[in-house]
């Protein structure tokens, strides 16, 4: 099965549960190709957790879930050494991070210090417990959900370093009237999640990554990406722009889009399509900016106003 067939199969599986989310399924697929972590954000009741569970089931591998609450501790995530009085030794108990797919549900309900417990494992695929380094088996993908932080009660903004480790932030939004009507029919007597079957093995996900290495990003496109990134750092309302990690993430995500569209080279449209999902959550606005606009609007504004390289400088053998 080639990558396009995999994508169609993935969309089909997601479609069994989530109606009309084809574009989002494609974005998730791009993220899976990178083994990137995804943050789902939308208002309550739009299916963030359901979508995460569907993705986890479609991907296969081991799956664990952490329901974040304000009293959860870092050791509840990473694990800890527990003293065994019988043997008079410490037993290592690794937390739920020891899995392939980790669902971090309502991640912004835990305190930032607890959220930070995921930093090491998300970035380096390892945890350190009492000085002992434990590697987590590949692939390791975090699917996190959060509600938009409209109310300050019981919610904590994710630290910037944590946000930077998510490859994409995807806003689910409301379904259209027609989609919602279809959804009413879909959720009948049986739970639609039961019908979802795995379409990847964990080895396949690792193997798909190799296909991406063949996608070319030429110098003009690299300059375009750098112009985009630097524009975020120089915007009047932005305090902290996109990091170099974000630059790499954008390149990788654009490669994934190109591959899904049957090309072995990236064109500006790939970047324009994927950039809002990769860069908006990495922008930290200054206080004036945060009162007047949103990171998503600024990201869109930068993408729309930036000069796009001309066609002959992008696609080989095409003028």
């Amino acid at each position: 099965m080639n990558i396009k067939e995999k994508l169609e199969a993935f969309k089909k599986e997601v479609g069994k549960v989530m109606v009309g989310q084809e574009e989002i399924a494609e974005l998730i697929f791009v993220s899976l190709l990178q083994r990137g972590h995804i943050l789902f954000e939308s208002v309550p009741g739009t299916g963030k957790t359901m979508l995460s569970k569907t993705v986890a089931r479609a991907v296969g591998g081991t799956f664990k879930r952490i329901q974040f609450t304000p009293d959860i501790l870092p050791s509840d995530i990473t694990g800890l050494n527990i003293y065994n009085p019988k043997t008079q030794e410490f037993d290592l108990r690794i937390g739920p991070v020891d899995t392939n797919i980790l669902l971090a549900d309502e991640i912004n309900r835990a305190t930032p210090r607890t959220q930070s417990a995921l930093l090491e494992v998300m970035g380096e695929k390892q945890v350190t417990i009492d000085g002992e380094r434990i590697s987590i088996e590949e692939p390791f993908i975090v699917l996190a959900t959060q509600n938009p932080i409209e109310s300050s009660q019981g919610n904590f903004d994710l630290p910037e370093a944590q946000l930077d480790r998510f490859l994409m932030k995807i806003d689910l939004g409301y379904p259209s009237r027609e989609e919602e009507k279809m959804m009413l029919g879909l959720h009948g007597h049986t739970h639609p999640l039961d019908a979802v079957t795995p379409i990847f093995t964990k080895d396949e996900i690792v193997a798909l990554q190799d296909e991406l290495s063949g996608v070319e990003v030429n110098g003009t496109i690299q300059d375009y990406i750098l112009d985009l990134i630097h524009s975020t750092r120089e915007h009047e309302y932005v305090e902290i722009g996109v990091s170099p990690r974000g630059t790499l993430a954008l390149v990788q995500a654009a490669k994934g889009v190109a591959l899904l569209r049957g090309r072995d080279y990236v064109i500006p449209e790939d970047i324009k399509y994927i950039a809002p999902f990769v860069i908006s959550h990495r922008l930290v606005l200054n206080i004036e900016g945060s009162t007047l606009t949103t990171p998503a609007i600024i990201a869109q504004e930068i993408i729309e106003t930036l000069e796009v390289p001309v066609e002959y400088g992008v696609a080989r053998n095409e003028v």
């Binding site: 050791s75 800890l80 003293y83 109310s151 300050s152 606005l285 206080i287 009162t291």
Partner: protein, 400 residues
């Protein structure tokens, strides 16, 4: 945005139609000979009238007008652009139409027309839309005064395509669009409150809760203790289970109480806009320093909160909500006397370490504030001079 047509026949058209009817009747009753040119001209005019009628009735059916930015936010004095998209999905164009917009004068259009109405701003712009195409009109404006500006009325003057003056499309219903103009931030002195949040600098209030990140030591394990609280290393060292002890959480919050009632009448205090600007400034300082605050005013609301209030919060997002709340406060509204309001707050709200009130303090207000002080709060007064610790008996009873 929905429009309904308002047809007014042009005088020239009415004259020609009248003339045609008279000539037709003369021809019926007296069989007069009409000049062929005259007949042709009248026929032409009648054709134009019929075509214009078809244009007037069919053109608006597939015309869509939408305001592209449903919500805009700006500071007083900032410039903005209202973008209006006009889409003609049908086959009938609009040539040199004129769109007139009237909005509340919290904003001022750059090319403003005087319509003689107070608190309104009005402007007109010409546009052309070809069949099955769209155009975007940009109307520049500037934030003029704190508040929320909405479009009150819109009308389009559309020339009849075969001449004979224009007809009008008038906005019907309301428009889902608003421009929030934040108050300016008026720098104010608040040296006493600008102390960095170091333990001991502020009055600390112990909460019931522990901070699980700050352990202060251990104690003997008790059966009801959570397994998560066991200090395993201390347990191994002592040979018996030890439970962690945590630091008590502490909290420093500002409560800002806005008096919207003057001490001499039910009208707002004279310098209330300056007060809003100073609140915008001190809350920006609080947001930058991560100090949580809440705002309550003596403006009566008809929900379960009784008074207009902004829930406690901190950071940039909370500051955004603060500016919006300050913009939405209408100073000409139902208010209650400040001392009654203070009593309500004292009885129904958790009183934080710092309470800042605005306005003048008479004996009744001072008496209520002394009850706040008895609950352990530090009282500050915000007036046009800045924020200062409040001294009873009118020492800082400066008029606002």
């Amino acid at each position: 945005m929905k429009f309904k047509a308002d047809f007014k026949d042009s005088k020239a058209m009415s004259f020609f139609i009248g003339a045609a009817i008279i000539l037709f009747l003369l021809n019926v009753f007296y069989t007069i000979d009409l000049n062929a040119m005259l007949i042709a001209s009248l026929g032409l005019f009648i054709s134009f009238a019929l075509l214009n009628h078809l244009y007037e009735t069919h053109m608006p059916k597939k015309l869509k007008i939408e305001i592209m930015d449903k919500e805009m936010r700006m500071y007083k004095g900032q410039e903005g652009k209202m973008r209006i998209k006009i889409v003609q999905e049908g086959l009938l164009p609009i040539l040199e139409g004129r769109l007139t917009i009237t909005a509340r004068d919290n904003i001022r259009f750059d090319e403003e027309h005087n319509n003689g109405t107070r608190h309104h701003t009005m402007t007109s712009v010409r546009f052309t839309v070809m069949p099955r195409s769209s155009t975007v009109i940009e109307i520049p404006f500037v934030g003029h005064a704190r508040g929320v500006s909405k479009i009150i009325g819109a009308r389009m003057e559309i020339p009849r395509i075969f001449g004979f003056s224009t007809f009008e499309l008038k906005q019907s219903g309301t428009v889902n669009h608003e421009i929030i103009v934040y108050p300016d931030r008026y720098a104010t002195h608040n040296d006493q409150m600008a102390t960095p949040p170091i333990q001991g600098s502020f009055q600390q209030k112990n909460a019931l809760f522990n901070d699980p990140m700050l352990t202060t030591g251990t104690r003997e394990y008790l059966p009801q203790d959570s397994m998560r609280d066991i200090h395993w290393k201390a347990s191994a060292r002592t040979g018996g289970l030890q439970t962690k002890r945590y630091e008590k959480t502490t909290k420093v919050t500002w409560m800002i109480l806005i008096n919207l009632q003057s001490d001499v009448s039910y009208m707002p205090p004279e310098n209330i806009e300056t007060i809003f600007e100073k609140i915008a400034f001190i809350t920006s300082q609080a947001a930058e320093n991560g100090i949580p605050y809440k705002i309550i005013s003596n403006m009566v609301t008809f929900d379960n909160r009784s008074f207009f209030s902004l829930e406690e919060g901190s950071g940039a997002r909370h500051y955004k909500r603060t500016l919006e709340a300050l913009s939405r406060i209408n100073t000409v509204t139902y208010t209650v006397p400040f001392e009654r309001f203070l009593k309500h707050v004292r009885l129904h709200e958790e009183i934080p370490a710092h309470v800042i009130f605005t306005g003048k303090a008479d004996a009744a207000i001072e008496a209520e504030l002394s009850m706040f002080r008895a609950k352990g709060a530090h009282i500050f007064q915000l007036d046009t001079h800045g924020v200062a610790p409040f001294e009873a008996h009118g020492v800082r009873g400066v008029s606002v």
